[in-house]
């Protein structure tokens, strides 16, 4: 319970802080926040172990943090520093701590699904019962590789869990515009894959559903598809005001904010007092601020080092 809240709050802090850094001109390129969607990464990653794998989307900060990445390395990556997880070569859209069996964020919508099936296949070949979770998006379900690679996972009974983060938009295109049947989990059922639709804004429910899927996979009953419904709190990326998002709908989801729900759970169940939670939040904020200070003082890879690195290309 405490972990669910800590992770969700850490993601929120990282992304809110990252947006500020972006607005100050310190972060470049694209920055896709997952504000409002933290429950999915948080719940799912809490259900797996070190030997398991995850793969991510273009909206990947949350997955990376939930998989156990240090905030230092992540902030440094945003600021293009050599101390960043990808030494400043990857950035927000490619962020990953690959030492944590994280296949990385991906700038190509839909591309992560076959990569995740590949990791699951590698583990099957080596006789490991490790599970691979791939996070994908509603937009990606209309890409051919979604069905192709889930089908491969199915015919090979791979330990593969595909989680659709259905935030109901692909940039400004609504789910209704992109597909006739908006119940995306049915696509898994159509090819014989156990499929669920759940409230993605409930971190505890995500955790329980994924935990069950992990058990099924480890006992040879994979793959499993989970459609987790959620909503973005803001536009597609930092520079998108998201004017196309109807106010009452946004309010509906704001009232079901996954971070608030994790906090309420924690307090209601008496695991922590409101004061203790406030102190925890303070600590997480300090962790982020310290990471920013550290990253600001870190160096960048020189052009000479870069040239040396790619000389074999």
């Amino acid at each position: 319970m405490e972990k669910l809240f800590t992770t969700a709050f850490r993601i929120r802090t990282f992304e809110s802080g990252g947006i500020k850094l972006y607005r100050q001109g310190l972060v470049r390129g694209y920055f896709h926040p997952s504000l409002g969607q933290e429950g999915i990464a948080t719940g799912a990653c809490a259900a797996i172990e070190d030997r398991d794998y995850i793969g991510s989307t273009h909206r990947g900060h949350g997955h990376c943090i939930a998989r156990g990445a240090e905030i230092d390395g992540m902030v440094a990556e945003l600021l293009q520093k050599r101390t960043g997880y990808c030494k400043g070569y990857g950035g927000s859209m490619h962020i990953a701590d690959i030492t944590k069996n994280n296949l990385g964020a991906n700038g190509i919508v839909g591309a992560g699904t076959p990569l995740g099936v590949g990791a699951a296949l590698a583990n099957q070949v080596r006789g490991s019962d490790a599970v691979t979770i791939t996070f994908t998006t509603d937009g990606a379900t209309n890409n051919g590789t979604f069905l192709e690679s889930l089908n491969l996972a199915a015919i090979w009974n791979l330990n593969f869990i595909l989680i659709i983060e259905n935030n109901q938009y692909a940039v400004s295109t609504t789910l209704e515009e992109a597909t006739r049947d908006t119940d995306l989990y049915k696509r898994g059922e159509a090819i014989g894959v156990e499929s669920h639709q759940i409230d993605g804004n409930d971190p505890l429910l995500v955790y329980e559903t994924v935990l069950d899927a992990v058990k099924k996979c480890r006992s040879g009953l994979g793959p499993v598809l989970i459609e987790a419904k959620t909503y973005r709190h803001s536009g597609h990326h930092v520079n998108d005001p998201g004017k196309y998002m109807p106010e009452e709908r946004l309010k509906y989801y704001m009232d079901r904010d996954p971070v608030d729900r994790a906090r309420d759970n924690l307090i209601k169940l008496g695991k922590m007092s409101a004061e203790e939670v406030a102190k925890l939040e303070e600590e997480i904020q300090q962790e982020f601020d310290a990471a920013v200070d550290k990253a600001k003082n870190a160096g960048e890879i020189s052009v000479e080092e870069f040239q040396e690195f790619v000389s074999a290309y």
Partner: protein, 325 residues
């Protein structure tokens, strides 16, 4: 034979390393359309030799993902033409992962496929697309022309940490040639002089090598000594060997089956003119495929790619041998 050499390479490497496995269409029971993987299923089992549905984009992606997760996948794509369905996974995933992860992530992935013309299989089954992959930083591009090279290079490919496009040729599978007993590998980036000569350097790869050797034979009958250089791997390219040969013969013809426009030959020519300009006694000549999709009609197919006579003529033209005769 070329296809047996490839099979031996796969067999040996699969024995050496449990993490090597192969996926592709009809490669298990059937042994692949070109019979390269025959017998591997019986020896290594269905976990490591497996058939896939027709899902090229995902098969390639699955291979890349497995490689990122430290296995050693070989993905066999029936025709290079079908690799186009997986271009995202090759170009945006496999080729990029190492850099994007700051050098920490590696992609030990081998994509085996075949290309080139032959037998009237027409426009969508006859392409020579090496230039597409040559263009993408982060990929290795291998094009063996002999059984010996095929085996040594494939074994080496299976020990590489980076993605390898291993491009075979449909016309070469039945080629015979010496393959020594015992363990050997051929490093990437080492050209092979397939025939020594002193008057002109003929650079060719894949199925253009046997054709160029024929041309060299014909030239020899006319008293012209042609050197035939096979780079074997286009990336990395053995520039030193090319420049050394140019320094020796002072004349160059580059032969490629792929279309002329935007090809590897043009790039090699530009390297030569930049780095060996003063060694040249004549402009670099390129003999290449026409800028056309490959027609079905056999005579037209032949007309669209370099033939022995074209190579002979080009060699003579850089030697001004026509005038001398």
């Amino acid at each position: 034979m070329y296809r047996e050499a490839l099979r031996e390479a796969l067999f040996e490497e699969m024995e050496l390393n449990d993490e090597v496995f192969i996926i592709g269409e009809g490669i298990a029971e059937r042994g692949g359309s070109y019979k390269v993987t025959e017998g591997l299923l019986a020896k290594f089992g269905a976990l490591r030799v497996r058939d896939t549905p027709i899902s090229e984009a995902s098969m390639i992606g699955v291979g890349v993902g497995a490689a990122i997760a430290h296995a050693r996948p070989v993905v066999e794509i029936l025709y290079i033409d079908f690799a186009m369905l997986g271009m995202d996974q090759i170009v945006n995933q496999a080729a990029k992962f190492r850099l994007m992860t700051g050098g920490e992530g590696r992609v030990p992935f081998v994509l085996r496929t075949q290309g080139g013309t032959g037998g009237g299989v027409a426009a969508q089954h006859s392409q020579s697309l090496e230039a597409l992959f040559y263009h993408i930083p982060g990929l290795r591009v291998v094009m063996p022309s002999t059984p010996y090279d095929a085996k040594g290079l494939l074994k080496y490919a299976l020990r590489q940490p980076d993605p390898v496009m291993f491009l075979e040729h449909k016309h070469l599978y039945m080629t015979k040639g010496m393959v020594p007993e015992g363990e050997f590998v051929i490093e990437f980036g080492k050209a092979d002089i397939k025939r020594e000569g002193s008057d002109v350097t003929l650079i060719a790869w894949s199925n253009m090598v046997p054709r160029t050797l024929e041309a060299a034979e014909a030239l020899a009958e006319e008293g012209i000594s042609a050197e035939v250089l096979d780079p074997r791997t286009l990336v990395p390219l053995d520039k030193d060997a090319i420049l050394a040969s140019v320094a020796k013969t002072n004349r160059v013809v580059i032969v490629q089956e792929a279309v002329r426009r935007g090809g590897v030959a043009s790039d090699i020519a530009s390297i030569i003119q930049q780095e060996a300009f003063y060694d040249l006694d004549a402009p670099v000549e390129i003999v290449a495929g026409m800028n056309t999709p490959i027609p079905f009609n056999l005579e037209l197919e032949k007309a669209s790619v370099p033939q022995t006579a074209d190579i002979v003529a080009a060699a003579k033209s850089v030697l001004h041998a026509d005038k001398a005769a």
